[in-house]
Amino acid sequence: MWKTVKSVLAAFFGVQREAQRREDFTSGKPISFILVGILMGIILVLILIVVAMTAAG
């Protein structure tokens, strides 16, 4: 689970180590990446909303 989160974070950032990429594609299941990706996408949006609301005071 933590590995999946790390891989999704790397995908958000746009940089991933080749070794990790190989491992994800051999041992990981697509559905777990999709679900974690959607969840973290929502979290990112929520963080941005909070930041914007704090900035707007």
Partner: protein, 372 residues
């Protein structure tokens, strides 16, 4: 010798670039409001950030090309991916962008805060002029292009502010927060005055907000910045910023003039009087489409000279001018012109260029019709 020549030219070019006059001519204006100054300093900050990035990136590239050229025996390194380098070139632009976004957002917040204004002005775009209404003050007028037609057709020498002059400028007090409420009667226009750092779309059936607090008295010029049809280039904006006392005096004068105009509605007007006033109105409002000689530009803009359908039916003529014709380029002029102006221009059209109907359309009749 030749080398020295190159260096001298480069030096002169640099001196010219750094001189203030050239900068003022090519750069965006610093403007006369606090917001415009902030925008200018943001613009310059971001410009210099871009210059530094450009010098570093291209410098590294040109240095590498030259230092490690093949003729000196340089060998290409063969490797695939380098996580650390990739992280750096992703993180650095991210930090630069966030660093630019923080001050830019602070300025944007100020620009959007149109609350607690001292004065509200409604600005309505119309093809092809601006209508200004001082809300709560009963003062409104239309601001038309002031450049004479012969300059546009090339028959006269162009004036200093060619196509950037109007018959009646928007007068605003300095030091006061003025809220601008923008909308349009027909198509999308955009009210743009660079010195005030305002460029706001005027969209039909929407009201957009903006505001200015002008620091220095003066005349500031701008243009419509949204392509809005045939005379898009002929609807400039002129703002005259004056001291608050002068503004109050101007406002009082405008109110008195509006009252005098209103009382003119009730009296009987003579044909000559209407013709004289109508010629003025026709020149600033109608002539750009229907032409100064009434010949029009068929098929979009029909001829008025010798237009039998209109001359036989004054009610149709009045209705066309007051309410416009749906589905054509003819707008309703009931919001642009007052009853006196409407009566005068209709009378003028019915008696000029050989349309000798001899009819004088009375302002009172137009006012009555519009009230219904």
């Amino acid at each position: 010798m030749r080398k020295r020549h190159v260096w001298m030219t480069a030096g002169m070019l640099l001196a010219a670039l750094s001189s203030h006059t050239l900068a003022a001519e090519w750069n965006m204006p610093i403007g006369v409001t606090d917001v415009s100054r902030e925008i200018y300093s943001l613009h310059m900050t971001i410009f210099w950030i871009c210059v530094v990035i450009g010098v570093v990136v291209f410098g590294a590239m040109f240095y590498s090309l030259f230092r490690y050229r093949r003729s000196k025996g340089a060998e290409a390194a063969h490797f695939h991916e380098h996580t650390m380098v990739e992280v750096i070139w992703t993180a650095v632009p991210l930090l630069i962008l966030v660093g630019m976004a923080i001050p830019a957002t602070a300025t944007l917040k100020k620009m959007y805060d149109a609350s607690e204004a001292d004065l509200d002005v409604m600005i309505t775009g119309q093809q092809w002029r601006w209508h200004y209404s001082y809300l709560g003050e009963d003062v409104e007028f239309t601001s038309n292009l002031g450049t004479p037609r012969e300059q546009i057709t090339g028959d006269g020498e162009r004036s200093e502010h060619y196509l950037l002059e109007v018959d009646e400028p928007l007068v605003l007090p300095v030091g006061k927060k003025v809220r601008l409420l923008l909308t349009s009667d027909d198509v999308i226009h955009s009210w743009w005055v660079p010195d005030l750092a305002v460029k706001q779309d005027a969209v039909p059936s929407f009201v957009n907000e903006n505001w200015v607090r002008i620091n220095e008295p003066g005349i500031y010029r701008g243009q419509c910045a949204e392509l809005c049809g045939k005379d898009h280039a002929f609807m400039p904006v002129v703002v005259e910023a004056v001291e608050p006392e002068a503004f109050e005096a101007w406002l009082a004068e405008r109110k008195a003039a509006a009252e005098a105009e209103a009382s003119g509605v009730d009296r009987e007007w003579a044909l000559d009087e209407l013709m004289e006033r109508g010629e003025q109105v026709y020149g600033s409002i109608c002539a750009s489409c229907h032409q100064p000689d009434g010949s029009g530009l068929p098929p979009s803009f029909p001829a008025l000279a010798g237009n039998q359908a209109l001359m036989d039916d004054s009610a149709l003529h009045i209705d066309t001018v007051v309410n416009g014709v749906a589905g054509t380029a003819m707008p309703a002029f009931s919001t642009t012109l007052n009853p006196v102006e409407l009566a005068a221009v209709i009378t003028y059209e019915r008696n000029a260029w050989g349309n000798d109907t001899g009819e004088a359309i009375q302002p009172a009749d137009i006012a009555e019709m519009m009230a219904e």
